[in-house]
């Protein structure tokens, strides 16, 4: 594999990591106003993602930085072209960060309710925009012969890209509910499981439709054959079907593994459909940005490859260790101890 392809794959992996990890904390955020019976439950839900959401968000920061460094032309065209969409993402992510921070700073119900909804809107909004934005890479946007974006905001919306946004929102909500079944206890856990069941079939159906559609879009608009994009798409669909099955069998651990695998395979479908281009141009297909055309010099890629080969495994180790440290369920039996722990010692 040449270095250009290696970095394309690495960026796909970073996005997959971001979707899997931030996916469930977005999902928890989306369910925040609906699942809990009261403030206690809400704090427990936030407690399940409290130690990890910030680290999860770094996957996005690194995906952005890696794109800048490895494919400057891609980064430049995508970030300036998707300007308003990214502005929205930033607003959603900022109000979400702030909601985590400030929600507990006052006892007032009104204050808490505002920040609960801020978290929910931020989570759902960011998920929606990421779905619309990334699917546009394959679907194609107007790019001129200088490699600059030549369209406007309306060009980002088509039935396919909107479907992608909805699929991502549903998938994350399902993924998040399944995550909650593993990290909570008692009645909250049952409610989470109920929510996961109700979300599972619509999420799996919409996601499956989106995946099939993506393979079609790749063939129609990006000059791809049905293989290889159909392989990760099939894997993703199989994983989501299994997630539904496991969930209804009460095997929530396996269901979560399957929603995670489904999310990874869905991102893989998108990037497999994209390769060897990084941004499809439509209607002028020949202006599409390619992996080779957008890449940095060999030397720069080689330097960063050394850094990535050293640091990515280390990061995986300590992030994995974090999940091990915080593996205990939060909820009923321990509610008193846990929340006062989180409160007193955190």
């Amino acid at each position: 594999m040449d270095l250009e392809t290696f970095w394309f794959v690495l960026i796909a992996i970073l996005w997959a990591g971001y979707f899997v990890l931030e996916g469930f904390d977005f999902g928890v955020g989306m369910l925040l106003p609906f699942l809990p019976r009261g403030e206690e439950d809400r704090r427990t839900m936030l407690g399940t993602i409290g130690p990890v959401w910030d680290g999860n968000e770094v996957w996005l920061v690194v995906a952005g930085g890696a794109t800048f460094a490895a494919f400057p032309a891609w980064y430049a065209t995508m970030f300036s072209g998707f300007y308003v969409a990214l502005l929205l993402v930033l607003v959603f992510l900022i109000i979400r960060v702030v909601s985590f921070e400030w929600r507990a700073k006052s006892e007032s119900d009104g204050w808490r309710s505002v920040w609960t909804w801020a978290n929910t809107v931020g989570s759902a909004g960011a998920a929606l925009v990421w779905g619309v934005g990334l699917s546009n890479l394959v679907y194609g946007v107007p790019i001129n012969s200088d490699g600059d974006f030549a369209g406007d905001l309306a060009d980002l919306f088509s039935p396919y890209t909107v479907a992608a946004g909805i699929a991502v929102v549903l998938l994350f909500a399902f993924h998040g509910a399944t995550f909650l079944t593993l990290r909570t206890a008692g009645e909250l856990r049952q409610r989470a499981e109920g929510a996961a069941r109700r979300l599972s079939i619509p999420a799996a159906l919409v996601a499956a439709a989106f995946l099939v559609w993506t393979v079609g879009v790749a063939m129609d608009r990006n000059d791809k054959d049905i293989f290889p994009p159909a392989l990760p798409a099939a894997l993703a669909i199989a994983a989501l079907v299994l997630a539904v099955v496991f969930l209804f069998m009460g095997r929530t651990g396996r269901a979560f593994a399957m929603t995670a695998l489904g999310t990874i395979a869905a991102v893989a479908t998108l990037f497999t459909s994209l390769y060897p281009r990084v941004m499809v141009s439509s209607p002028d297909f020949e202006n599409s940005l390619t992996v080779d055309g957008a890449a940095s010099s060999h030397y720069a890629l080689a330097v960063m490859t050394v850094v990535a080969v050293i640091f990515v495994p280390i990061v995986l180790l300590y992030q994995g260790w974090t999940y091990y440290v915080f593996r205990r369920r939060l909820g009923l039996d321990e509610t008193a101890a846990e929340t006062s722990d989180a409160g007193a010692h955190a």
Binding site: V62, A69, A76, E101, Y299
Partner: protein
């Protein structure tokens, strides 16, 4: 007409970058400095078992967390903004400038965020020793991220380790990039600014509690720690900052000339302490000024008889090298930003030094007026640091990458003026609201009494990111 529109979208993009960056940097120095402070406090508790240090760790840890979360949110804007508003710049520099940013993410941000989460929520999940390690790793992550950012910024000031091929910069030596003399001084300077800021904040907050006669037994050791760190660090910082001036003279003589409003080459050159007028091409002679003979020669070259080149000479040289155009940065802005930075930096050192004198004499707590001075000093390192960035970035104009790419050629061609107005308005509203609430929260938590450890009313210790 087209020209007018192009100019104004660059200007708007610059306004947005300047405001969002300066805003972001309101939060950065305190994180850089407070992280090691909190780590040292926790280490002392770990070593001695003295509960006062545990209470101080929690107290200042809370301030650190409130501060850090805003830094994270505003930092994401910085990363996205290069591509959103400066796409030509991004494509031109990505090969070189992108590498330290990507490495920052991999090597520093993951470390910072992950171990901060472990620290906040790990008090009773980790052994005391491992838990102590998490706060040190958080501090290490924040320092590493400053390192890579300063490497990236220093390349814009003094492009090394790269060559321009096909209208794009390409990395040729990562070693030269990392050992850029400019980067070494700038990184050291930023770290010392961070530590100074944290020392002033710890000192000022402690003074506030002492002036109210509250928690003296707790804040006395905090004052001592702040002074032990703050006095030498703020002094060394003045020296390092001053030496950075000599480095700048070597690579960006025009920045120094503009900063000193020095129109004609002088040898030896006098330092202008204060002047009225003399800031524009048509008005090169101040109507009033106070000067110290030979001092500028020393500050800029390290020798009291050194030659300092003037703007007129350098402008002519630049036109000969790069073609006609204005190569002079805004003189008035650089002149005053340098003086605000240096004078406030000196004032901060003096306050801490006088505080140390009183503390050593045992009279600090009886001098109420001085305790108030300590409280009122809190904004000064911030203003000094912001002025320093204005000097560094405005002084680089008209270049975005010194000698290679002009700011006016670097913005996104596909982004309209209206779009930038929109984002500017969104950020102004959002950041304004954040500033107000953050200030209120910081003030509230800085004024709380640190509760007894494990007490019923341990609500205080609820950190920013718990619920």
């Amino acid at each position: 007409m087209v020209g007018t529109i192009a100019v104004s979208s660059v200007d708007l993009a610059r306004v947005q970058f300047a405001t969002t960056s300066l805003y972001h940097f309101l939060f950065v120095p305190l994180t850089l400095g407070l992280a090691p402070f909190v780590a040292v406090m926790q280490t002392i508790w770990y070593r001695t078992g003295d509960e006062r240090w545990l209470r101080l760790t929690r107290f200042f840890g809370t301030l650190m967390l409130i501060n850090f979360a805003i830094g994270v949110a505003t930092g994401l804007v910085q990363e996205f903004q290069f591509g959103m508003n400066w796409s030509i710049y991004s494509e031109y520099v990505g090969d070189v400038f992108g590498a330290p940013l990507a490495i920052e993410g991999l090597a520093a941000f993951f470390l910072e965020s992950t171990f901060l989460g472990l620290w906040i929520f790990g008090w009773d999940r980790l052994s005391r020793r491992v838990h102590l390690a998490t706060v040190w790793l958080f501090a290490l992550g924040s320092w590493l991220s400053a390192l890579f950012i300063m490497v990236a910024n220093s390349w814009m000031q003094r492009p090394v380790g790269s060559t321009v091929t096909d209208g794009r910069a390409e990395l040729t030596s990562v070693w030269e990039l990392l050992t850029n003399r400019f980067a070494i001084y700038a990184f050291t300077h930023v770290l010392l600014v961070g530590l100074t800021t944290a020392a002033v904040v710890v000192f000022g907050v402690a003074c506030w509690h002492l002036v109210r006669g509250r928690n003296a037994e707790l804040f006395r050791p905090a004052v001592k720690l702040a002074l032990i760190v703050g006095v030498p660090i703020s002094a060394v910082n003045l020296l390092v900052g001053s030496h950075l001036g000599i480095v700048v003279t070597d690579y960006q003589p025009m920045k120094i000339a503009a900063t000193e409003a020095l129109w004609d080459t002088e040898q030896p050159a006098a330092f202008s302490v204060f002047q009225i007028g003399g800031f524009s091409k048509d008005d090169q002679t101040p109507s009033f000024d106070i000067e110290i003979p030979r001092l500028l020669s020393f500050l800029a070259t390290g020798s009291f008889s050194g030659k300092v080149e003037g703007i007129n000479t350098l402008q002519a040289e630049a036109e000969a090298q790069y073609g006609s155009g204005n190569y002079t940065p805004p003189v008035r802005t650089t002149y005053w930003s340098m003086r605000v930075m240096a004078y406030l930096g000196t004032l901060v050192f003096l306050v801490l030094a006088v505080g140390a004198f009183f503390f050593w004499r045992g009279t600090l707590e009886t001098k109420r007026w001085f305790l108030w001075v300590g409280v009122l000093t809190i904004p000064l390192p911030y203003l000094s640091a912001l002025a320093g960035w204005v000097l560094s970035e405005v002084g680089r104009q008209p270049w975005i990458v010194w000698g290679l790419l002009k700011t006016s050629d670097a913005n996104s061609p596909s982004v309209s003026t209206a779009t930038i107005w929109l984002s500017l308005a969104v950020f102004a509203g959002l950041y304004g609201a954040l500033a107000v609430v953050d200030f209120v929260l910081m003030r509230r938590y800085a004024r709380l009494d640190p509760p007894e450890v494990g007490g019923e009313d341990d609500e205080f210790a609820v950190p920013a990111v718990s619920y």
